[in-house]
């Protein structure tokens, strides 16, 4: 894997341990899955996997998540029946951040939903009740979204195929905006990321995200909660997008994003000469080498 020089320059000054960061990017990601509580329970799955002789490690910050020492969990009975959902650990964080809200919400939007890792998790956290709108602009990715929701036994979801910016102005209690991004944090499972990597690309994503976050925020009911997340390191796609929200919607409040048992890191204080508001420090970065995961960013916004 060849890491672009410009990538090094950009991020090495932001991390605590440059060497650990760079070498981690070249290491294989541990295999993980989430128990689909619509169909099963963590105890039941643990018992079955013990019988297979597969070592499972329960994730300290999420009782329904496991790391599996065997890469073949996808050939298990539990994967076949939808009792488990193979998902990267950091991808489980956005729903987890609003677990309590989701337990009470009856009207929820997943604005960029395909292929549905987080939609299936949200539906389970809603107890498969109420209404979840799972939307994605990409027609081809809707197929996978549909397949995954079906397999997980999700009943409470309506799939729509729209540009979120053109969405009706409905009001939701909880919204997830898992934005399209430059995906730098997924490099450990997808080496192609660096082939397409450019700062121009980052700029473009940033512009798209700024539009989407305003739209998503405007669709919140009063007191509603929005989770904004990306799987990328670029401050243009993270802190800068939150700054854009705060500048344009002064009523937006950021709440602390943290998880017991997971190491999160400070957000970036300034970038390209722009100083970010102090409130943005409530958001969280996850660097790959801290928890042996992909890279991630997430923020919890309250109206």
């Amino acid at each position: 894997m060849r890491i672009p020089d410009r990538f090094r320059e950009r991020y090495c000054s932001l991390v605590d341990d440059e060497e650990a960061f760079l070498s981690c990017l070249g290491e294989l990601l541990p295999k993980s899955f989430r128990v689909n509580t619509i169909k099963s329970s963590a105890d039941e799955v643990m018992r079955r996997f013990e019988g297979y002789g597969m070592g499972l490690k329960r994730v300290p910050w999420y009782g329904d998540a496991f790391i599996c020492d065997n890469p073949e969990a996808g050939f298990s009975l539990e994967h076949f029946t939808g009792a488990i959902y193979i998902q990267e650990l950091v991808s489980m964080l956005p729903p987890l951040l609003v677990r309590e809200e989701l337990g009470k919400s009856r009207f929820v939007l997943d604005g960029c939903a395909a292929p549905g890792s987080k939609s299936t998790q949200i539906a389970a956290m809603m107890g498969n009740k109420g209404t979840l709108i799972a939307n994605d602009v990409s027609y081809s990715r809707i197929r996978a979204l549909k397949f995954n929701l079906e397999k997980a036994g999700v009943l409470n979801t309506v799939i729509t195929n729209r540009d979120l910016n053109a969405f009706q102005n409905l009001k939701f209690e909880t919204i997830l905006l898992d934005a399209p991004c430059s995906s730098e944090g997924t490099i450990r499972k997808n080496y192609d990321v660096f082939d397409a990597w450019s700062e121009g690309g980052i700029r473009q994503f940033s512009n798209v995200q700024k539009q989407l976050i305003l739209k998503a925020f405007d669709m919140l009911m009063p007191e509603g909660t929005l989770v904004y997340s990306t799987c990328t390191f670029a401050p243009e796609e993270n802190e800068e997008v939150l700054q854009h929200l705060i500048d344009n919607r002064p009523e937006a409040r950021l709440e602390k994003a943290s998880f017991d048992g997971l190491r999160t890191s400070e957000t970036v204080g300034s970038w390209n000469g722009t100083e970010f508001s102090g409130e943005i420090r409530n958001a969280a970065r996850i660097w790959p080498h801290h928890n042996d995961t992909g890279g991630f960013f997430l923020a919890k916004v309250r109206k």
Partner: protein, 158 residues
């Protein structure tokens, strides 16, 4: 998919009765299980169980889960029997390991006569060690596979 406003859309009239009646009679799935949900119809007799409240939106691709196809008779989906498998109380065929493997890869199997004792021909829930594998059709002592192609899998850990 056809739907209007916030209410469920079912036609022809009586389809809802037919579907819920069948699921109760054949599988012991009580109607109260569906109280929080609505039924929606699409083309080719497809019936979906989805949220009760569906806003009026353009570009809806799917509402809820495809639970049955109705053409005179009701054909339950594997999705439904997997999702509510734990609540099913009758017409369950308990498969052996070999039979479960065959089922998962899309094959038919011949159940032991004890496994189908008292089960009349028709759709059944195929189970293995408590796990709901999906829908089968019991006919002349054979369980015919009803698993959609995309769901088939060569299981290695069972």
């Amino acid at each position: 998919m056809r739907r209007r406003g916030t209410s469920e859309v079912i036609s022809p009239p009586g389809t809802k009765e037919k579907v819920f009646g069948y699921l109760e009679e054949r599988f012991g799935l009580e109607r109260s299980l569906f109280d929080d949900y609505g039924l929606y119809m699409a083309s080719k007799g497809r019936v979906y169980l989805g949220p009760r409240r569906v806003p009026d939106l353009p570009k809806i691709a799917t509402i809820g889960l495809l639970i049955a196809r109705v053409h005179g008779t009701v054909k339950p989906s594997t999705n439904l029997l997997q999702a509510l498998g734990k609540r099913v109380s009758r017409n369950i065929v308990n498969a052996t390991r070999e039979q479960a493997l065959a089922y998962a890869r899309g094959g038919d199997f011949k159940p032991d006569s004890a496994a189908v004792d008292g089960i009349g021909d028709g759709y059944v829930l195929v189970r293995f060690e408590g796990a709901s594998l999906g829908c089968g059709l019991l006919q002349k002592g054979m369980v015919k596979n009803m698993l959609p192609k995309a769901k088939r899998l060569e299981l290695r850990y069972i």
